[in-house]
Amino acid sequence: MANFEPWHADRAHDIIAGFAGLRGASLPILHALQAAFGCIPLEAEPLLASALNITRAEVHGIVTFYHDFRRTVPGRHTLQLCRAEACQAVGAEALGAYARAALGVDWHGTAADGSVSLEPVFCLGLCATGPSALLDGHPVGRLNPARFDRMLETLS
């Protein structure tokens, strides 16, 4: 289960300062900010722009280009469900539909009780044991609706 800090500009400053001197540091910084705060709030963009000496528009472009970076804090758990071809061949589309119905959300949504955020992912490299998922970073394979339900039951 993820524990994120509330947004705090001073804390963000410290994180960004930790990457001083690193060339091409924007992705490492964004990953670090998201690990701390659960997302990249808009307020982070000017801090990054001044640290990297680029425009805020450029920072905005980078943040929105990459699928990994979120604008809002995810639920207590994040489930990344694979939707790529190898998992499609063993029922990922049906499983995805089941998951969305079970959680009452669409892709990128968070269940109303805040328990789980559902993210689509295009390949986890677990293509011979699909359908596959990462639950809070832990790999899960050979999923079907029954196993999906059991997996959800273990969550708090």
Binding site: L27, G61, F65, A84, G125
Partner: protein, 502 residues
């Protein structure tokens, strides 16, 4: 205590390997390894016995108490027993060069690595000198395993001949193709081989810094490689004047394209660069850069150690050496199969893979990831070879083979290809950025029965424009799955007529 090998590869973890290891704790000396790549048998554990390593699988944690009572640790328990691991037909048929260590050694033991021939390739390179090292790679016939198949030695030579004081080695570990996991297995199962391969490349071309760009979807690979890097650095094996840094991607498929990857490493949006200049002349931070796929770099130590001739002797025509082929999707025996080029697609899918997991007939096989063509069984005589696949409007890509049974709707697969391109296009060139959006719309019109003939012709025309007008392989190759679906499975694009006929 008896040594028992339990994989810690992410795919083994996905099906319960940690639970198996926990159940064995206290009963055996547990060594966590990478995976042998026999994924239908994972979790597959191996017991060290005087006769060899005896494999059991697929083992669940709940099986362990019974197996222990029946003599698991002497290799005599019969339930789930697979025999000596190397003699399992799927493994016995392979030629494992790049994957010779994966699933066998503790990936974070430098002693294991060196005891199995590790670091002798680097020693050999230093002995023969940088020019001879590049010549060896050139003579081996090794081509880029990321998909483009460009001769590796030519890239190295180009960089070696530049005068720039700063040069880079970049490893492309942004393995985004569905159905591929060779990079992941090596990162998790034999990370030192990548370090050695990069050190050899750096020595050959005179680079002082290496970067490994690993996709963020591989958290276990990233963690294992970072630990291996610290161990190698502390042991001083990187050599003087060379260091490696790993960077994580952020979920953009297009960053597997080499120039987009360089943009991303430099901290920008992963947008494709126009070539020329080639990365070999102006690559990372404007400096000469060798950018190779992870499998390419991890194959280099073997070539240096055994010589170019031995590698070159394997394969067919211009595809020399071995290819780690990854069997995936709806397949009975899914896993990593490294063999010389030339094996046919049919042998791979039916003989090695055992046909579909569902037991239904194979309808289509997508080779080479989301940009690869869908081949019907009538093309199963195609040998696994860069040119043979290209001659049939396909590509081998990074070696992924995804099997679909007869329940697949090929019009939906064509739609998915376009939809994927909409989501992943970097936006730099118009054919890819706009063409993919129009592609989805056109497939939808066809499936809705609107002017089907005219829209099918339009979709072909659009594919032609994308193929020849796009800046990189994303927009340029997305037409392959679409056109192959239209050519080999035309009935799926006329659902209304099919319904009427039934």
């Amino acid at each position: 205590m008896t040594r028992v090998f339990v994989p810690r590869d992410a795919a083994a973890l996905a099906v319960g390997a940690d639970g198996v290891a926990a159940a064995l704790t206290g009963h055996a000396d547990i060594v966590r390894t990478g995976s042998r790549g026999l994924f239908w048998l994972e979790p597959m554990i191996e017991i060290e016995t005087p006769e060899g390593r005896i494999a059991y699988g697929p083992v669940e944690a709940a099986d362990i108490p019974g197996l222990l009572a029946d003599g698991l640790l002497s290799g005599t328990a019969r339930h789930l027993r697979l025999g000596i691991a190397e003699r399992i037909p799927f493994l016995a048929r392979q030629t494992r060069l790049t994957f010779s260590r994966c699933g066998i050694v503790d990936p974070l033991s430098l002693d294991d690595y060196c005891a199995t021939g590790g670091m002798t390739g680097l020693a050999k390179a230093r002995e023969i000198g940088s020019a001879a090292t590049t010549e060896t790679v050139l003579a081996s016939g090794l081509r880029g395993r990321g998909g483009a198949g460009f001769p590796t030695g030519v890239k190295w030579k180009t960089v070696a001949e530049t005068e720039d004081p700063q040069k880079y080695i970049v490893c492309n570990a942004d393995e985004g193709d569905s159905g591929t996991y060779a990079d992941r297995m090596l990162l998790e199962g034999d990370p030192f081989s990548l370090i050695e391969g990069m050190a050899i490349a750096a020595f050959a071309v005179g680079a002082s810094k290496g970067y490994v760009y690993t996709r963020s979807e591989y958290p276990h690979g990233i963690a294992t490689f970072d630990r291996a890097l610290s161990i190698a650095r502390a042991a001083g094996v990187l050599g003087p004047g060379f260091d490696i840094e790993q960077r994580a991607g952020a979920g953009a498929y297009v960053c597997g394209e080499e120039t987009a990857l360089l943009e991303s490493l430099e901290g920008r949006r992963g947008q494709v660069r126009a070539k020329p200049p080639l990365p070999a002349h102006k690559g990372l931070f404007g400096c000469p850069t060798v950018i190779n796929n992870l499998v390419t770099l991890t194959t280099v130590p073997w070539i240096l150690r055994h010589g170019a001739a031995e590698y070159q002797a394997i394969g067919m025509e211009r595809s020399r050496g071995t290819m780690p082929i990854q069997l995936a999707g709806n397949i009975q025996r899914g896993g990593l199969f490294e063999c010389g080029f030339g094996i046919t697609l049919g042998e791979l899918v039916n003989d090695v893979g055992g046909g579909t997991l569902s037991g239904r007939p194979v309808r289509a096989v997508q080779v080479g990831g989301p940009l690869g063509a869908y081949f019907p069984p009538s093309l199963f005589d195609t040998p696994f070879d860069y040119e043979a696949f290209a001659a049939r409007d396909g590509l081998i890509g990074h070696g992924g083979v995804v099997v679909f049974d007869d329940t697949v709707d090929m019009a939906q697969q064509a739609r998915f290809a376009m939809e994927f391109c909409v989501a992943e296009s970097c936006g730099k060139c118009t054919p890819c950025r706009i063409g993919s959006v129009r592609g989805v719309e056109t497939v939808d019109k066809i499936l809705a029965g609107q002017n089907v003939d005219a829209n099918l012709a339009l979709l072909r025309d659009l594919c032609h424009t994308m193929k020849f007008g796009s800046l990189c392989a994303l927009g340029g190759f997305i037409p392959y799955p679409v056109l192959s679906a239209m050519n080999f499975f035309p009935e799926d694009f006329r659902p209304a007529e099919r319904l009427a006929a039934e």
